[in-house]
Point group: C2
Chain length 123, copies 2
C-alpha cells in the first residue's frame, strides 16, 4: 500500500476554512473482483485534481469503511464528481462492490488538529 511502511499514520491536516469534504461511508459486498485495481486508479486520479487537499480512509474488518476526501473549493469537488473514469467506477461500484453507502458533501466551517508532543526522546 505504501513505499514507506515505517512512516507513522497521520490524518489529513486541518486547513484554513472554508474548504470542502466528502464523506463516503460504505459496506462492501462479498465479491470484490476488480475493486483493488479500480480503487488504486481512483486514488491516482483524485490526487491530480487541482485543489485536492488529501484523503483519509479507515476500514473496520468485515464492517464499515469510511473515506473522507478534502477539497479546496466547490470547483475542485465538481471536477472530481464529474470525472468520466470516476463516474464509470461509481456505476461499477453500485453494480458490484457496494452493499450500501451514504455520501455527504459539506463545507468545513472550522477545524483543528492535535499531535502528541511528549515522545520518548524529549523526556
Amino acid at each position: 500500500m505504501s513505499d514507506h511502511p515505517e512512516a507513522p499514520v497521520t490524518p489529513v491536516a486541518a486547513h484554513e476554512p472554508p474548504y470542502y469534504l466528502a464523506v463516503f461511508s460504505a459496506v462492501r459486498t462479498q465479491d470484490q473482483s476488480g475493486f483493488g485495481e479500480t480503487n488504486a486508479r481512483m486514488e491516482d486520479l483524485v490526487r491530480n485534481i487541482p485543489g485536492f487537499l488529501g484523503m483519509d480512509h479507515a476500514q473496520t474488518p468485515g464492517g464499515l469503511g469510511i473515506t473522507v476526501g478534502y477539497f479546496r473549493d466547490p470547483d475542485a469537488l465538481a471536477q472530481w464528481r464529474t470525472h468520466a473514469e470516476h463516474r464509470a467506477a461509481q456505476q461499477h461500484g453500485r453494480a458490484e462492490w457496494y452493499e450500501n453507502y451514504t455520501l455527504h458533501v459539506a463545507k468545513v466551517e472550522r477545524s483543528h488538529g492535535f499531535v502528541r508532543a511528549d515522545g520518548p526522546a524529549t523526556e
Copy 2:
C-alpha cells in the same frame, strides 16, 4: 459491542440538508487504559443530545480510526461540544489516548444514499 450481532451494518442515512457533521480522524497510543469505558459513556451521552442524528465509526486495525457524528443544527453540535463530561474526556484523550487527531466541523450541502436491491431472494 452490539445486542444484535445479526443486524447488517448500515451507515447513517442521508438527511435533508442543511445539517452538520463532525469528522474526527485519529491515531491512538499504545496505552488505551480506560478508553473503552469512556468511549461507551460518550456514545450514551451524545445520543441524548437533542438534534443528534447518528454516528458512524470505522477503525483500521493498528491504523487510522474515523468517527463521523451528524447533527441537525449548530445548536445540537454546540451542546455536544460544550458538554462538561465530553470536555473532560477530550482532555483525557489528549493526555493519554491519542497520538494525533484532526477534527473538521462542516455544514452538509447535499447527500444521498444507496442500498443494493438485488438480494438473492429476488432473483
